[in-house]
Subunit: 276 residues, 2 copies
């Protein structure tokens, strides 16, 4: 027997989710689709995002996916119901798993959420957290994605920016009377900044904040879903050889930028065209 | 008599060109179109960019434009011939005017060009400058646009980033045996950083570099084109009342972000749909 899981993102960020999935689900086959020709999704209308995401989900089903991970915050926020209605297989989004993990982790019940401007303006994390009874302060961090894409992962400029953003978020939380003990990284680019954010928090702030990245907790949720199947799979080491990559824009760009997000070289990417 | 000039950009950056045009052409009517629903152009194919830009040019002609300013680096680099073939009126792009101004200004014949990744990878400025016999070092500055859009125009982080980018560009120029005396700002967002770049250059570098922004020199070229008509226009002060604004995405976002680029409030924007 074998298991095939489809992972979808508008671009490269979802590769941090695949990176977290690989060691949790050894022996599983993965099909990754980055809709890089149509990114960014964040600035587009709900109807357009739903149309794009549904076409991507159908493509991954055709490629044999028995389970879909929507590793894209915008599509998870705005198109999860449309994808579930169109897909014949289970669908999991990064926002609901992130909110559930924050719920399990927070003792004060107060949570900080960092995300892109589009994700923060959608209030998707705030709504998902509020459903668990959590109080939330959301902070847009529009420079984090370009800093990661510039490759400035451990860079003094990025540390300065992180300090400014975190100070503003914590000041806003205190002004609202909140005592956050949990920091939710609501963007698939941000796990690459996890170490830098941890050391910034250690250096600048007295209160201990536990960091939850939706990539890690989504991978854990998928592993729980497949726990029975995983027990039956023959033992094997996690390997990128079990991954098939598709991109809708430049294959060369996907390989070079994508390898940074995945943390290992991507040797082969197939170009596909999803335009109707 | 009256003169109507159409100004086109994929979004807001072209408003720095309109900002430079207003005082140079008092009494002229302007029609500005920001194709904000389809930005960014930089990551799209030549055929797609040409199709978008031609539809925008035709719209501006319908609105009465007798002259078109392509205030978008990507469209100027990749679609100027297509726009000229489709338009019945004169068309001017920011890249050719920027290169001509660098040619007039440089004594050493060595020029630094700063631009977005897409513009630099197209080598459009390098080719346009080489046609004048100039030697060029191009440097992609992918963080400048998000820093401007974050509103960090006079900010220590932006000064740090400018210092890093300029140091790298000048080191690369020296390694190639060049002595640049001219810095060409090859992105319509960058005029907002002009003061910060000037003070960074003054503080960090011995050699004097004169800064040319394509917005300013494009405005000067348009004013030269209309010098006869300008003499016949009744005297008047430059006024935003002579401008009509169209955007293909959110009118509210165009007003708030666009006002920063124009340097004064934009009261009225009309939404249009260019999709076929």
């Amino acid at each position: 027997m074998s298991v095939t899981i489809g992972v979808f993102d508008s671009g490269f960020g979802g590769l941090t989710v695949l990176r977290a999935l690989l060691p949790q689900l050894p022996g599983v086959d993965f099909v990754y689709l980055g809709d890089s020709a149509r990114l960014p999704y964040g600035s587009k209308s709900q109807a357009t995002i739903a149309r794009y995401a549904v076409s991507a989900a159908k493509f991954l089903e055709q490629e044999g996916a028995e389970f879909l991970v929507i590793a894209c915050n915008t599509a998870s926020a705005l198109a999860l119901d449309d994808i579930r209605a169109a897909a014949r297989v289970p669908v999991l989004g990064v926002i609901e798993t992130g909110a559930a993990a924050a719920n399990a982790a927070s003792i004060t019940r107060d949570v900080l959420v960092l995300g892109t401007t589009a994700t923060v303006e959608s209030h998707a994390y705030a709504n998902a957290c509020a459903a668990h009874g959590l109080r939330v302060v959301e902070k847009a961090c529009p420079l984090f994605v370009p800093l990661v894409e510039e490759g400035w992962i451990h860079h003094p400029v990025t540390a300065d920016v992180a300090n400014i953003y975190l100070t503003e978020a914590l000041n806003r939380a205190r002004a609202a009377g909140l005592s956050p003990d949990t920091l939710l990284l609501g963007c698939t680019h941000y796990p690459l900044l996890r170490e830098l954010l941890e050391s910034t928090l250690d250096r600048m702030f007295a209160e201990p904040l536990q960091i939850i990245d939706s990539a890690g907790v989504t991978a854990a949720a998928v592993a729980r879903h497949f726990s029975a199947e995983l027990r039956e799979l023959p033992p094997s080491a996690p390997s990128i050889a079990d991954c098939t990559f598709f991109a809708t824009d430049s294959v060369a760009k996907f390989q070079s930028l994508g390898s940074q997000f995945l943390g290992q070289p991507i040797d082969h990417v197939t170009h596909i065209d999803l335009e109707e």
